[in-house]
Every structure is written in structure tokens, then in C-alpha cells.
Amino acid sequence: MAARSSLAIASSEAATAPSVPRAAARDEVLELVGITKSFGSLTAVADVSLAVRAGEVLCLLGENGAGKSTLCNMIFGVYRPTTGLMHLVGAPYAPADPKTALEAGVGMVHQHFSVVPSMSVVDNLLLGRSRGVLKRTAFADEIEARAAEFGLKVDPWRIVKEMSVGERQRLEIVKCLMARPRLLLLDEPTAVLPPEEIGSFLDVCRRIADSGGALILVTHKLAEVAKIADRTAILRSGRIVDTVPMRGANMKSIVQDMIGRELGAADAAVGLDLAETGERVGSTARVASENPGATAFAAAATPESARSRSADALQIDALSYRDRNGALRLNEITIQVRPGEIIGVAGVEGNGQTELGLILAGIERPSSGRWFVGDHEMTDATPRQITAAGVGIVPEDRHAVGAVVDMTVADNLCLQNLKHYVRFGLVRRSAMTAAAEDLIGRYDVRGAGPQTRFASLSGGNQQKVVLARELTLDPLTVLIAAQPTRGLDVGAVETVYGHIRSACKRGAGVLLISSELDELIAVSHRIAVIYRGRIMGELPALPSNREAIGALMSGNAA
């Protein structure tokens, strides 16, 4: 039995021996020419041409749905390109399935691990590789030797479920390395890692590249890109916007490329919002010019009427949260929202927004810190008490948390305040149907009657049902909306914005958590930027602050 410190990283001088089959220097390991992938009418990847060289780390950067994963899956043989050509070390390459890709020397580490938790490391790596009598000991030595080449220490006899997430991921990488790949694809490898393990993971990537392998790393975290990438390809809506070498690259322009899209036809809704908020932006500017000493922050942070600090609708005070693996997901978050104010929480996904939303919905408990609605502490409140305090919640995950999708629209609309529709313990269906019909009309839920199954509605109409339920709370003191426009079409997005604004006009404090910066700038008064579980800063929601907010989102202090 080897030491228990299984997959820890050994000292750097151990990682020298280059053993990945090396293509001729400067030669391209993989070349993509005009790759396009369509699913029905949707084009996920459009005309992508790209090359990766041996010894190079290429980062694929882009927002959700930009086509990063689809591109990787084509290289790994999961999908076949609709049009376009691929070359692997100069030869035509068209993998029919992942098995062919592996045989050709292309490995991939998926976001979700594919190891058997109750088995040992050696047994996991033997899976699919073993025939006849198992030679465990010999193979265990081989694993250790192979891992050591890249500065990884592996205990082949350790049971996988006893290992941390980071260790498991390194195991996945070792699993790929056993096949001596020319090219390694890593799909959002850091999304599952706690922040403190990311650094050592990136070191391993660098060692693999230094030993002559080519790496494609998919991510939307800018800090990682800055640290590890030799070159970065930025994808937006399935197209490569730019490919930049990282030496001397301007991070700000990369941020701009990734999030700063033009307000074209596709973003009509956002454009409308900018026009609508123009007046407010103008008045802010005027205040700032009238009071040259006052910062723009102070001007924008003062909404329509003056209020005292104790009058916060929502006050989040030094809230921290550790997940089950002990990783710190929220680090002393402090945010105040006043009545009639919309505070946006900006950030690249996976920086703690989901956890924040779950805590405020009463589903998770914070590890430390407190939060209040008005004067009432809500830190240990149940979802029922939170609703009773007048907090409307539009959850990030509509299907898991927002609604019971297999029940009817009426059931979903009335579940929260069922007692209004009950007499002597029996549900008054007629009253429920009438109330549902009224809400369906007022919130413009299309293609649905009270008895329609919730699951059969389109995403936008589902969201309208959730909004209808949450916004009709009486009184509505706070609205917490997490990613409320995700997956919605332009028209529905506009409706959702309208409802959020009207809640704000009625005096509710709104916390809007979103990864769409344009949306936040258009709708909110102030924007707090979250990065690795911390609030990096708070800025007025002005288009002119876009770059500063982007910098905060990538972890650079303003």
C-alpha cells in the first residue's frame, strides 16, 4: 500500500520527462477548417477554423451557449460536424465515436466524472482495458509511473469515493494520460473545483503541455485564461470572434469580446431597455455634474426618494456558505437593497450566485452571517416563513425549484397560498380556476389554460407563471430573481423586465442575479459584482461602467 496522500502534486522537478508522442515542433496537432454544426434550425457552431499546436494550451472562452462544448464534442467524436474538415497531425480525421477518437490519440475530460466511486483507482483505470487475468500490481506501478511523469502522485489502491473532487479530477486526467494522447480536451474542468484547488490543477495542465501534449481548455473564467493559456479563442454565438496570443494580451479587450456584444436585432429587448433607462441615466449624470464632488456611485445609489439605512427591504450581512465538500462558495457577502431599488448581482456563472439564490429561497442554510427582510431576521427561516415575510422568489432552476412541472398551471399558481382556495379542507377547484384564469390573463401566459400541464408550456410562459405567483404576494417587500430570463425569447425577456420594474415601482426591493451583463445594466440601479464567492465591488448600472464591471467579473479589482 502506498502513502495515503494519493494524487497530490509532487515537486515540480519531478515533472520533466516528455513522453507524449511529439509532433514535429510548430506542427499543428489538430486543425479545424470551416466546422459547422447545426441541430435542426439551430446553428450551434458556425464556420469555425482553428488549430492547436503541440505543447500549447488553447483556451476556448465564451458565455453559456456560445458553442464551446459542442465544438469539443465534435473533436471527441460525440457529434459529427454538419460541414467542415478536421485534420489530426496532418491526416484527415473524422471520428465516428469517442472510441475512435481515443484510438487516434484524443482524450477528453468531461465536466461530469466518469469513475465508479466505490472502486479503487486501479480498478477504475482497468475498466475497459482488461482482458482475462487482471494484473493489478503491474498496472498499479504503471499508473504511478505515468502520473509521476506529469508531477502527479497517485495512490492506485485508494477508493475513489474517499477522494476529494480535485483528486477525482486528477484521476480523470491520469485516466486520459494512460492512453498517451496527442490532444487533451478539458470541458470546464474548473467548474467543479473549489477555488483553492484551481491553481494546482492549472499547474498540471502546464506540465502536460510542456511535455509536448496539446491542450484545449474550455472555460468561462477569465482569471484561468490569463494564467494558463498560450492562446485564446473567443467564441460567441457559435463563431470565433477572435483568437489572441496571451503574451501581452489586453484582458479588457477579451472581456469586451466575450460579453460586450453590439445591440443588434437579436438584442432588441435589451436595446429597448437601454432606451427606457436613458432618462434615469441622464438624471444620474446631471446630479453628478451638479455636484462635482459627489461620486457617480453616490448619485446612482440614491433612488427616487431619500431613505435611512435601517429602511432596507433586504439586508444581507456577511453571509458565508460552505458546500458539503467544505469548499467556501460564498465569502462574507454583504448587500443592501432598499425599497423601490433594483440591485443587480453580476458575475460569471459558478461564482456563488446559485448558492446565494438557494440561501435566500430558504433551501440552504448559510454557514455564517445573517440576512434580514425589513426588521425580520430570515437567516434560519423556512421557505414558508420567507414567503410569509413577503419575499417573492424566482428561482434559477425553474424545473427543480420553481414549479411542480407535472401539475397544472392552476395548481402551480395556487400552491403557495392554497389556504385561500380551501374550505373545510377541500380544494375549491372553481375558485382556483378563476384565480388562475385571472393571472394567466394579467401576466399574458400564452397557450395555456388553468388545467394545462405546466411542463407543456414554453420556457417563457413557464417563467411568466412563476412570476405571476411570486409577484402577487401581498405584501411584496422583496423580489429575488435569479437568472430570470435564461432561455427565454426576446418578447418574453421584455415582459419579464416589465414585471420586475413594476414590482420595483410598487415599492419592493429587487435583487436581480444574472450572468447577462447587458440585462443588469438595463434593469438595475446598482450592480454588485460577485467573483469566487466575494463581492468585488458595487457600481452604478451605467453603460459607461461596463468595462469596469467586466474587470471585476474577471477578478481584477477596479
Binding site: 433551501i363 414558508r384 420553481g402 401539475m407 400552491l415
Partner: protein, 362 residues
């Protein structure tokens, strides 16, 4: 399980034609297979059929006995579908029957209730057994919300504990065992006083169907209303379909989980008290004799519908009576009777899938 309950929700009580034809064909076919098996193993088919008919519905006494069996099975089945609505599987019927039996016996014998007026002499033992079994069921609910123990595991294992409690109760003279007057005294309780036994519907001992039939029918109607019309039923359904969203919507999911498993247990306990005070009148090891597991099958085959529970319970009641008679009168091996019952269960379950397919195609 969720597909089962959604099916029930969609179909309601409106039964499409194939839903009647297919199970009938399945039952006839499985009887045919059963009799063929008997023939192969050397039993006389005509004797077996005669014994089955005689035992199941050959006399008012046979019919009464069959219906009394159906009452116990139906009550366990009702409890099962209640919990199933919240996507909770209560396989603890056997143990809940046992708890019902123990406490009904204890109160009937030693609770000083025998002389009480207004039917209290019956009501109090019934109540005691029902509450004990409710606690037994709720225990599984508590373990689920506190430690995340799967209720299938906990209710199943609680069965064994309860069955051993029965065994202990009737073995120890300090508990419920009858006083040992001679060496051959059986390990069982005394017979409960006549005043604590369930009144017969007709008052005529040759027709043994007891008051439990009325209670069971009333409870079936109440259960149907609760599941279809009540706020409680709607909340159970919501929890069953999506516990997280239900919690978010302010439903007390933990409380309801404990409550509905307790309620489910209460139905099993009530069945136990009725078996004891209605038929057997003394407690003995193995008195539950598989009714809990048969009741579970009743609940499963009914697919979440109260009407289904009633129909399947009555069918199984007659089947059990006929099967016992086949063993005694026609000397068909007990194992063979069990095999035939098993084939019927598989056939009905299989026909359910066929019904789903045909109705989906329609």
C-alpha cells in the same frame, strides 16, 4: 412510482374498456396455468376447482370469511396508496398489522374495557392498535426526514421488529401469554372478551362478516375524497412530484412526510385490530400471516386508485379463501397455491402495462 400516480391522476376513475378486458383475460389465463400445474403435479383439477369454489363463495360463511379477508387487505392497500401519492412506498403493512394486533389484544385483555358501554369496549382496543401502528409508520417518516433513511428500507425492517415483538409478547407470561396451566399451554394470548369482539353485521355467526366492512367502505370513500379533492391530497401530490419545489412553495414537506407515513401505518394497524377482534380473537405468533405483504400487492396493483384497491382487495380475499380451501379439501400443496397467486399477480401487473400501451395508442 411517479408514473403510476400520474397515470392514476390522468385516468381518474373513468376506466377505459381495455382496462376491464385485459385483466379478466389475464386472470382466466393464470388460473388455466395454475390448474395445468396442478394436473402435472398429480392433483385432481375437478377436486381443486370444487374446493376453491366451496372455500371462496360456496356458502354464506365462505363469502363472509372472504370478505373479512378483503377488509384487511383493502385497509392496508388504502394506506399504501395514500403514502404512494407522496411518492413514499410503505412496505411495512405486515409490521403495522402486528402492532395493531399486539395493542388491540393488550387493551382488550388487560385495559379493563370489557365492561364499558356504548361500544367503547370495542372502540378502545381498535383505537389503541391503530395509534400504535400509526406511531410505527411515523417512525419510518421521522427516520426519513432526520437521517434520510429510505422509507422502503425502514418500513421493511420495522416489519421484522414488530413480528418479533408479537413473538415475544406471546412467549412471555409477563406480557400477553396466557397463564401456563399445564406443560402443553400454547404460546398465545387468552381469547379476548366477547364484548371486545367486532359486532357481526347480521348478528348470525353463520355469516361472519363484521362491522369492519362498513368502516372500510366509509374509509375508502374518505380516502378517495382526500386524494381527489382535499388540500392535503394536493399537497401530497406536489411533494410526490417535486419535494424541493413544494418546500419552496411553503408546503411543510417534513411534517407531511411523517404524517402520511403515520396515516398509512394507521390503516395497517386498523386492519390488524380487525383481524384480531373480528376473526381470530387471540394473539399468536404469525397472526399477521402475510396480510401486510398481500395488502402491499393490492396497493401496487390498484395503481393509486381507491376503486382499484376495493376491487383488487375483494378479488384477493376470495383468492385467499379459495386457496386455503384447496389446500385443506383438495390436498393441493400450499406452495402450489402460492405459485398460482404469484402468477395472477404477475399477470395483472403485466396487463397494466398492456392497458397503458393500448390507451396511449388510442
Amino acid at each position: 412510482m411517479s408514473s403510476t400516480s400520474t397515470f392514476a391522476a390522468r385516468s381518474g376513475i373513468r376506466i377505459p374498456a381495455p382496462a376491464l378486458v385485459i385483466p379478466l383475460v389475464a386472470i382466466v389465463a393464470s388460473f388455466a396455468v395454475g390448474f395445468a400445474l396442478m394436473d402435472v403435479t398429480g392433483s385432481s383439477i375437478s377436486d381443486a376447482i370444487a374446493a376453491f369454489a366451496q372455500g371462496a363463495f360456496g356458502s354464506p360463511y365462505a363469502i363472509g370469511t372472504s370478505l373479512n379477508r378483503a377488509i384487511a387487505l383493502g385497509l392496508v392497500g388504502l394506506g399504501f396508496i395514500l403514502a404512494e401519492r407522496a411518492n413514499l412506498i410503505n412496505v411495512g403493512g405486515e409490521g403495522q398489522i402486528a402492532m395493531g394486533g399486539i395493542f388491540a389484544t393488550a387493551v382488550a385483555l388487560y385495559g379493563g374495557v370489557a365492561g364499558l358501554p356504548f361500544g367503547l369496549s370495542v372502540l378502545l382496543p381498535v383505537l389503541a392498535g391503530t395509534l400504535a401502528a400509526a406511531a410505527w409508520g411515523a417512525l419510518a417518516g421521522l427516520m426519513k426526514i432526520r437521517f434520510g433513511t429510505n422509507e422502503v428500507i425502514s418500513t421493511l425492517l420495522l416489519n421484522f421488529i414488530a413480528l418479533l415483538l408479537v413473538y415475544w409478547s406471546v412467549q412471555s407470561v409477563h406480557l400477553l401469554r396466557q397463564p401456563a396451566t399445564f406443560a402443553g399451554t400454547l404460546p398465545q394470548s387468552l381469547s379476548v372478551p366477547d364484548s371486545t369482539e367486532l359486532p357481526l353485521l347480521t348478528g348470525d355467526p353463520s355469516d361472519p362478516i363484521h362491522i369492519g366492512a362498513v368502516v372500510a367502505i366509509i374509509l375508502a370513500i374518505i380516502t378517495a375524497i382526500v386524494l381527489r379533492r382535499s388540500a392535503f391530497g394536493l399537497k401530497l401530490k406536489a411533494i410526490g412530484l417535486n419535494p424541493l419545489a413544494s418546500r419552496r412553495a411553503g408546503i411543510r414537506t417534513n411534517l407531511l412526510t411523517v404524517l402520511v407515513l403515520g396515516l398509512s401505518g394507521a390503516f395497517g394497524g386498523l386492519a390488524g385490530t380487525m383481524m384480531l377482534l373480528g376473526n381470530q380473537d387471540y394473539l399468536t405468533a404469525g397472526f399477521s400471516s402475510g396480510y401486510g405483504f398481500d395488502g402491499l400487492v393490492v396497493g401496487l396493483l390498484s395503481r393509486g386508485s381507491v376503486l382499484g384497491v376495493v376491487a383488487v382487495a375483494i378479488f384477493f380475499g376470495f383468492l385467499r379463501s379459495g386457496g386455503i380451501s384447496m389446500q385443506i379439501a383438495a390436498h393441493v400443496p400450499a406452495a402450489l397455491v402460492t405459485i398460482v397467486q404469484g402468477i395472477i399477480v404477475v399477470a395483472i401487473a403485466g396487463s397494466a402495462i398492456l392497458i397503458d400501451r393500448t390507451s396511449r395508442r388510442a
